[in-house]
Symmetry: D2
């Protein structure tokens, strides 16, 4: 398992009139979590598109809303890969914690890899697997 | 089962640089679908908050992304209640169809009912059940 | 002058915890207004990009917030072109009216025309001028 | 003059199919800039609402789009107050710089102060003026 944490402050435009973060905005929080996890591995999602010619559309999303997030909260996005990508997709888990360390939200996002030129689904890029492998070998020791 | 259809055009700000609707924007599409379903029953979600003192936070969301939605597409939001709300929550299913009638996305959103004053979870308002019941009786005939 | 009206309902995700539409969301309302104005002329902005190879980035935006817009309001987007595009840009004015017919917001958006292939600014497409001209000739009569 | 800088990374959901940040998303960037400027002064906008009972709706917005912002850019939000708030409003200027230090966008946002209980416009809170005054005295020396 590889886990990365990143902090995100709740912005005014992300709240709704209930006084909480609008439920649709969590998808963007998950995006931030997984992109920053990739950066922590020394890669950028930007380079997937611009250098490798691969884009990663989302296949499925599951979100559970346990407690509300509120304006100006400094949230922790704890993003994990529980296993190396298998087959043609990759699944990120993101737990969102509030300032008291309580999990307020949990999301699971599955994405696939698509060759931008051909539009075809492809396996995960080898560069990604290489960056991830050491972290999963460690787990097995 | 009660089903309602509503049309929504994809706006430029809803696309991302992949050229498709950003995956986080579907939650708002589901919101539009369920709010317009309530309106078709002669109720407004607005009146839930302003007249009944009840708000409906989202408990969980599941979304499957089958095909991309593109800029300026006129989507059909087909929102269904498969059963009367049981217990303390209500679950809406939304299928999103493109102009060729193909299902491009499917979402399931579960919401609960919270008394705004007390902050406590409450059963669904009787007014809602009354509006829905005739549609479910019909199904059983 | 050419003016077009289009109705837009305020969605929950567009409000903020002040209970009003978030000030950043009006830009999308102006976008809806100008795109639907083009459609009323028999053109789509989509075809500008996909058929004519022209995109229209925004050059400047001015917005005045006169009264708040609230959840579920059915707003009228009244979009006007006060003159034919001159030089290399086009300026749309949008007044937003609430259900009582009061102007709650006024926006001015100036856009230019860019050839997608070359990245260069170009004059407005002749097809657009042709569609607009009759409306401006009428004004002069 | 008081100036504060804050960094903001462009997220995928903020781009549109032109491949740039959607023009409507800059308003949120300006919000981040001014809220973080207040924090740099030892105040939070959150406390304006929750402790002082004052909210700050936007009165007007002006934005100039000079160069596009692109996905994953690490932008600098340089927010300035050019003078102490006079009368009943306050005006923030935000310049947005890209990683090469070029100004890509400039925004001016004027907000007023409203007593949440009465709904009436009020002068800026004394606590804000006190925090700002030393920075403006310095300028005059």
């Amino acid at each position: 398992m590889y886990t990365h944490e990143y902090q995100k402050r709740v912005r005014y435009g992300e709240t709704d009139q209930m006084g909480y973060v609008y439920y649709g905005n969590y998808a963007q929080y998950y995006e931030i979590g997984r992109v920053e996890m990739l950066r922590s591995l020394g890669m950028t999602y930007k380079s997937f598109e611009s250098e490798m010619g691969i884009m990663m559309p989302v296949v499925s999303l599951e979100a559970r809303y346990l407690r509300p997030a509120k304006y100006d909260d400094l949230l922790t996005l704890r993003t994990s890969l529980r296993q190396l990508p298998e087959g043609l997709s990759i699944t990120f888990q993101t737990e969102i914690l509030n300032e008291e360390g309580k999990v307020i939200n949990a999301g699971t996002v599955r994405l696939c890899f698509v060759d931008i030129q051909s539009g075809k689904t492809v396996p995960p890029p080898e560069a990604l697997i290489e960056r991830l492998r050491p972290h999963f070998l460690k787990d097995e020791e």
